[in-house]
Symmetry: C2
Subunit: 478 residues, 2 copies
């Protein structure tokens, strides 16, 4: 096991330096590489396969809820970006501008899309005329660009992959229901497939999306206690519709502005997976999106019949799972460490004695628990173990969140719980920006969300002591 130790030693321990641990895992698990474009990721096959699995599940959920995919241009003319005032103020400082086409200077500069509300609205103004044209439930999978100063792979990069849904509705009620419906889709994705518990809530005015009336969010807690905003869903009212002059004839033959939503989830969620489940041996992947669910490692593979039996077993497993085999000349110890680093949920070991006994060994990535399994029971046992791994990961993440969630009633308590810790800090809040800014200045936390499930923690704002309007969660965020 010497070579296993050697590899494990190559990553920084998360207790020593969580940020460096993250960077090490991203690199050693071969998720990304850095190229010469500042802040842009190269997503390698293993990282991209995780994204493909996420896409596949989410796209199915979008289609099951009646959404259709489209594709909009990647460039937005400056005049189009400027049509909605709040929106352009929010995004103009962080866009990349195309100013030349070939040898020619463009008459109007074009930005690389940071998000596509303006493009969808222009298109909607062409195709929405009557209530019969509504709702429009569109989504697109694409890459977007935000010219960030400091970047980290998956968490904050100049370019990232995402999906952005953009919908138009007859009534405000219908649009609001859509906003919540898609928030629930994101929460289901995180909890049922990624084993990441999330808090559903509403952003404060300060933290909401540029141009939105209301922004819903799912907030997850990472292993280090910091928060990660993992998906957002926005209700726009008819603000963009008015700016883009989108009108339809309603059922009473009157001209109306439609009501709009948008919602997005990005490759950032891969950062959430890493920081929620990973450990000092590397990545730990939730089975639903792991590119390889079972890795077959032959033991004493030079002995007669081992490689053949292991290969046949792998082929058999491929019918039911994402399975692979490593027949390279590396030692079993090296392989164990390698697929632990890559977070493969189950390792299957099989050697001459196992073959003789008609069995093999399954080793869980998350807790290294070993199970001897009769070959005839393999599929059912793997199914059971993958489900168990998912549940364990979820419960462990939930326990971590609960252990790092604090309640405070006034600033003295807030200091007591938040100074020197990371976590979710639950308090009451008066709803005023002043207090939100003071929490940032004095405690170093930002508002994460006002949970949809409100709790009664008293009647006074944690900060000013005046009557509280909301229960809110504060945190230190990625």
């Amino acid at each position: 096991m010497a070579d296993q130790k050697k590899m494990v030693a190559e990553i920084t321990s998360m207790e020593d330096d969580f940020a460096q641990w993250y960077t090490d895992v991203v690199k050693k698990a071969e998720l990304v590489d850095y190229g010469s474009v500042r802040g842009c990721m190269i997503i390698r096959p293993y990282g991209y396969a995780i994204w493909e699995n996420i896409q596949h599940i989410l796209d199915g959920m979008f289609k099951a809820t009646g959404h259709q995919n489209v594709y909009m241009p990647m460039l937005i003319p400056e005049s189009l970006l400027q049509k909605e005032k709040d929106h352009v103020e929010g995004f103009a400082p962080e866009v990349a501008w195309v100013t030349m086409g070939g040898e020619e200077k463009l008459e109007e500069r074009l930005c690389v899309r940071p998000t596509s509300e303006t493009l969808f609205c222009e298109h909607y103004s062409h195709i929405i005329h009557s209530y019969r044209d509504l709702p429009k439930l569109y989504n697109q999978w694409c890459s977007v660009m935000r010219w960030e100063k400091t970047t980290r792979p998956f968490l904050r990069s100049a370019e990232f992959l995402w999906q952005e849904g953009h919908t138009m509705h007859e009534t405000a009620e219908e649009a609001k229901a859509e906003t919540v419906r898609m928030l629930n889709v994101y929460a289901e994705m995180c909890e049922k497939y990624l084993a990441i518990p999330v808090v559903k809530g509403v952003k404060t005015d300060k933290e909401k999306f540029a141009g939105a009336e209301q922004t819903y969010t799912i907030e997850a807690m990472m292993h280090d206690g910091k928060s990660l905003q993992s998906g957002t869903s926005h209700y726009f009212g008819d603000g963009f519709a008015r700016a883009f002059d989108i009108q339809f004839t309603d059922r009473n033959n009157t001209l109306q502005y439609p009501h709009q939503t948008s919602w997005g989830l990005s490759t950032r969620i891969i950062g959430a997976i890493i920081m929620t489940h990973g450990d000092n041996n590397g990545l730990v992947l939730p089975p639903a999106v792991a590119p390889i669910q079972v890795m077959v490692v032959p033991i004493a593979q030079h002995k007669e019949g081992v490689a053949e039996t292991a290969t046949a077993l792998c082929e058999r497993l491929k019918k039911s799972f994402r399975a692979d085999i490593d027949l390279s000349e590396n030692s079993p110890g090296w392989k164990f460490a390698q697929y632990e680093m890559k977070g493969v949920p189950l390792r299957l070991e099989i050697g001459p004695k196992d073959i003789e006994a008609g069995q093999c060994v399954l080793v869980r990535r998350d807790n290294r628990e070993k199970t001897f399994v009769k070959l005839e029971d393999l599929e059912s046992e793997i199914t059971r173990l993958l489900a168990e791994i998912h549940d364990s990961l979820y419960q462990k993440a939930l326990a971590n969140r609960e252990a790092n969630t604090y309640v405070a009633h006034d600033m003295a308590e807030m200091h007591k719980v938040a100074d020197g810790t990371n976590g979710f800090y639950k308090t009451m809040w008066c709803g005023e920006l002043d207090c939100e800014l003071k929490m940032k200045d004095e405690i170093g936390v930002t508002s994460r969300c006002m949970p949809l499930e409100q709790e009664d923690l008293g009647s006074a704002c944690v900060c000013c002591g005046r009557p509280a309007k909301h229960m809110i969660i504060w945190g230190k965020a990625y």
Copy 2:
């Protein structure tokens, strides 16, 4: 049928003006919309669903041949683009340049990728060290941008969607075999799934990809006799590897440059589908990629039980096919015309008398043939008809190609066959650029390819009469 005639009359007939017919179909079948970015398409749900079906099939074929998906940045620094001399000369005149990030002027301008050889090479220089790291068989699905002067939806647009495969190999032989293998994948995609017959061949030096040693192509003939290059596969030798300093230690412990390929197929293929199979009633879609394969149209749907029976039938069909139903208040005639315009391969009509008789009517889009089918035989009959439609489309396209393929032995014959026609013109060729340019100037044709299946049409170049080296096809191209 008055409203059906009205709608059909809305598109220009292809005999009157093929270009206008194309534009009408693209718009009326709701494939694209135009936004305010010159030359960029908005791909609408119906158009995007065709692309998704193509992606799904091709991606499966790529994975079955051992390829993995990755994602590279969308921007390329100018210095990186310039590393391979022929490549930059080919692409620099037609790229869009990002020169500003937020408020700041960039130190080095970045182009929006027109193709990603340079990015893949930079990454490969980081990860290829030993023969054990080879081959690398990568692909990416993305959008690219080429600042074209004149654009048409799908056929030539400033931005388009595509996949680009980029592979690295130990030996030239292996890389060449990959180039041909992927050409065959494209040919299979076109012929088996899109019902488009293609000629496989090699491009002349003049027409090959910037930086390639050899470009393979599949060429299809459109309904009007013009050619469409439908997919290309390039062999690079070790030119880029040398420019990017990618070296590996071979099996004899010697440093070597790897050999490279790239291959791409784009949304242009949707243009090929439209112009190969479409007719004066609109789009005609090959069943394998049609977003809707069977459209259920209830007849006399206000009568008791019709809508319910038709709906139940549609639900039943959804288990085996991409089926949909139109229960709107539009007349059956309007619906017939609408789904003919959209190219749905089969229409299923069912009314009170059919229900009584336990049957329905299936109408083929391509030839309007009607079949009465017992409801219990529906699935097998639809399967049979969809296969028949595919074969008919393929045979019809092949017959069109054969009817418009000419042979010429000298310039007099070339004038005789090519003046006033569009088509494939087969000749012998000496291999010299002079003759290729003269064919362009004098006849108005460009070289399409030197077919892999060479025919012996004589020994003299059609243009100069000197000894011929290749059999070649000329044409007027999109």
